[in-house]
C-alpha cells in the first residue's frame, strides 16, 4: 500500500479529500454483506422453490419429519443473519444453507468460507445444525432428482453473456528490463572462490583418476580464470588445458600451503 507511485502523487494532488474515503474499508465490507443476503440468493434457488419441490416429491408422512428439519434450517439461518433483517432474508439464508450443504455430510473449510463470505462471522454450531438437517432431508432422495432441482435453477442464471467474453486478453505486464548485475570495479560480477584448499581438494584430487574428464572450464575459482587468461594471452597456441592444470596445481599448492612466504620463495 505504501509503495511510492507517480499516479499516487497525481491523485493526492488533485483530490485531497478523496484520500480519506479509503478509510471506509472496514465499513464497506459490512455494508456489502448486508446487501448480499438481499440480492444473491434471490437470483438462484429460493426457499419457496425448495419447499415446493419437497412437497411434490415426497409422501405426506415423510413430510412430517422433514418439516422439523426445515425448521432447524430456518432456525440456523436466523442465528446466522439475525432477526432484524426480516423473514425474507432468513428464508434466503436458509435456501443458501440448503444449497451449500445438499451434497455434503459435514461442515468443511470451503463451506465455512462460503457462509462467512456471505454473512460475515457466524456461530459454527448453526452451520453444523443446518448441515445435519439438510443431509437428513437429502437422504430421502436420489442424487439424480436433487440434480434436477439444481439444474432447473442453474438455467435461470446460466444464459447471461459477459461483455468481452470472447475477447483475447493477455496477462503480460510491463516488467523490469534486464540489465547486467551491479559491477565490481567495473567488471561484471562473477562468483569467485578464494578457498584454494577446498578447490584443490574438489577439483584436482578427483581428476587424477584415469577416467579424467576434460577440465571443466566453468569452474568458479578466481585464480583459475586469471591463469587461463594469462596463458591464453602469452602462449596463445600452445596453451592447453593440461598446462593450465599443471600451473594451477602448483599455484594452488603454494597458496594452500602452511609454509611461510620465505620458505616458499626458497623452494621456487
Amino acid at each position: 500500500m505504501a509503495l511510492p507511485r507517480l499516479t499516487g502523487a497525481l491523485r493526492s494532488f488533485s483530490n485531497v479529500t478523496k484520500q480519506d474515503n479509503y478509510n471506509e474499508e472496514v465499513a464497506d465490507l459490512k455494508m456489502k454483506r448486508s446487501k448480499l443476503h438481499e440480492q444473491v440468493v434471490g437470483l438462484d434457488l429460493t426457499w419457496k422453490k425448495i419447499v415446493n419441490f419437497l412437497n411434490e416429491k415426497l409422501e405426506k408422512k415423510e413430510m412430517q419429519s422433514i418439516n422439523e428439519d426445515l425448521k432447524d434450517i430456518l432456525q440456523a439461518a436466523k442465528q446466522i443473519v439475525g432477526i432484524e433483517n426480516g423473514q425474507e432474508a432468513i428464508e434466503n439464508a436458509a435456501a443458501f444453507l440448503f444449497k451449500t450443504f445438499h451434497l455434503k455430510d459435514s461442515v468443511g473449510h470451503s463451506e465455512t468460507k462460503a457462509i462467512k463470505q456471505m454473512f460475515g462471522p457466524f456461530p459454527s454450531s448453526s452451520a453444523t445444525a443446518a448441515c445435519n438437517a439438510t443431509s437428513r432431508i437429502t437422504s430421502h432422495f436420489h442424487e439424480d432428482s436433487l440434480a434436477a432441482l439444481f439444474q432447473m435453477t442453474k438455467e435461470e442464471c446460466g444464459d447471461r453473456v459477459l461483455f468481452g467474453s470472447n475477447l483475447t486478453f493477455s496477462f503480460d505486464m510491463h516488467d523490469l528490463d534486464y540489465f547486467d548485475e551491479l559491477p565490481i570495479n567495473g567488471e561484471p560480477q562473477k562468483t569467485i572462490s578464494l578457498d584454494y584448499k577446498k578447490f584443490l581438494n574438489e577439483h584436482f584430487r578427483e581428476h587424477s583418476t584415469p577416467e579424467v574428464k576434460p577440465v571443466e572450464k566453468t569452474n568458479d575459482s578466481y585464480l583459475w580464470c586469471e591463469v587461463e587468461k594469462y596463458l591464453n594471452a602469452t602462449l596463445n597456441e600452445m596453451a592447453e588445458a593440461t598446462r593450465i592444470e599443471d600451473l594451477c596445481c602448483t599455484l594452488y599448492d603454494m597458496l594452500a600451503s602452511v609454509k611461510s612466504g620465505d620458505e616458499l620463495q626458497n623452494e621456487v
Partner: protein, 430 residues
Amino acid sequence: MPALPLDQLQITHKDPKTGKLRTSPALHPGQKAERCFVLYKPPPKDNIPALVEEYLERATFVANDLDWLLALPHAKFWCQVVFDESLQKCLDSYLHHVPRKFDEWVAPAPEVAEAQKRLHRSVFLTFLRMSTHKESKDHFLSPSAFGEILYNNFLFDIPKILDLCVLFGKGNAPLLRKMIGNIFNQQPSYYSDLDESMPTILQVFSNILQHSGLQGDGASSTPQKLEERGRLTPSDMPLPELKDIVLYLCDTCTTLWAFLDIFPAAGQTFQKHDFCYRLASFYETAIPELESAIKKRRLEDSRLLGDLWQRLSHSRKKLLEIFHILLYQICLLPILESGCDNNQGFIEEFLQIFSALLQEKRFLRDYDALFPVADDVSLLQQASSVLDETRAAYILQAVESAWEGVDRRKPTDAKGPPGTGDLNGVVATG
C-alpha cells in the same frame, strides 16, 4: 425504426408512488441497481493465511460484482457506471493499488494469483466497455454525449489513464491504443487535464532530487526551504530511504514511458512544459549520483543493492526512451510526414531541444549510445535543403566531445531493442 442513442432514449416505467406509467430518460439514477461495490486491497506481501483469506474475501466480492456488471445490458451498464459512486471508487482503488509486475517481491499463493488474474481481466474489460461508445448497431451513445459522460462523471482521469497503460499496455497494446485514443478524441478536455497535471509530474522529479540532497532545477527560483537544507546525499542516507527513492523513480519512469508508448500524441502537451530539457537535466543530476552511491554501498546489503541497481538501470533506459518518443513525436515524425515543405518549424524545434542540453554530457552520451544523434541529424539534412549546417555540426561536435575520455562502446547488436545490453558499457566512468 432506427435505434436511438442511449442518451436520447426514453423508457416508460411505473411510478412506484402513484402507480401511473411515466416516461423518463433511459440513463437515469432510478435505473441503477443497489449493488454496493467494495474497495480493492492488494494481496498481502507475505502469505500469512489469515491475511490471504481476508484478501480473497474482498477480491471475490469485487470479481463477482464485475462479472455481474459485464453481464448487464448496455443501458443498465451505463446507469450503473454513471450513477454508482461505489463502483467508480472500486475501479479506482484497483488501478491505484494493484501490484505492478515490476514491484512484486514475493510469489503469491496460487489461489491469490488466480484471483488476481480474474480481477485483472474483468477490470480491463470494464474499462474497455466504458471507453466504447458504440457497443453494437443498436446499443450506442452519441459521441458528444459520450465525451461529456466520461469527463463529467470522472470515469476516466489522468491518473487512471496512466495506470491503465502501465498495467495493460504490454499485453493488450492495440486495444488500449484504441481505447485511450478514443477517449482523448471524443473528449479533448483530457488534453487540458494532462496539461494541468504536468507541473505535478515535473514536481515529482524535483522532489526526487530534493530528497537526494541534489537541488532541483526549480530551486534557484524559489528560496530553499529550511527543512530541505542539508539533506543527506544517496551515499549517506539510510538505506530504506535510498530504496524508496529508487522505487519511486522506477515507478515514475515506467509509468510515463508506458503512457507515451500507448499514446504518443500526448507528446506535444509534455513539450509545452519544456519536458525534454527538464528530463535531460534531471538525468544529468540524479543518475550518476545514484549510481555511484549504489556501487559504493553494495556491501551493506548486496541483494537489495543489486536489485536497486537493476531498477536504476531500468529507469535510465526508460528516461532515454521517453526522450526519444517525445523527440520523434514532436520533430521527426512531422518532418517525415510533411515532405520537404513546411518542415522548417520542426527542424528548428529539434535544433533548439539539442542546443539547450549540450552541457548535459552524461545524458548526451547515454542517449547517443541508445539512439545515435547523427542518424537523426542526417534525417534533417535529407529533409531540408536549407538546414543550418553550422548548428547541426555544432550539435554533432558536442555529442562527440561528450564521449571524450570515455570508452565508447556503441551497440553493435542489430537485433532486439537498440542498446539493451550495452547500456552498462558506458557507465563505468562518471
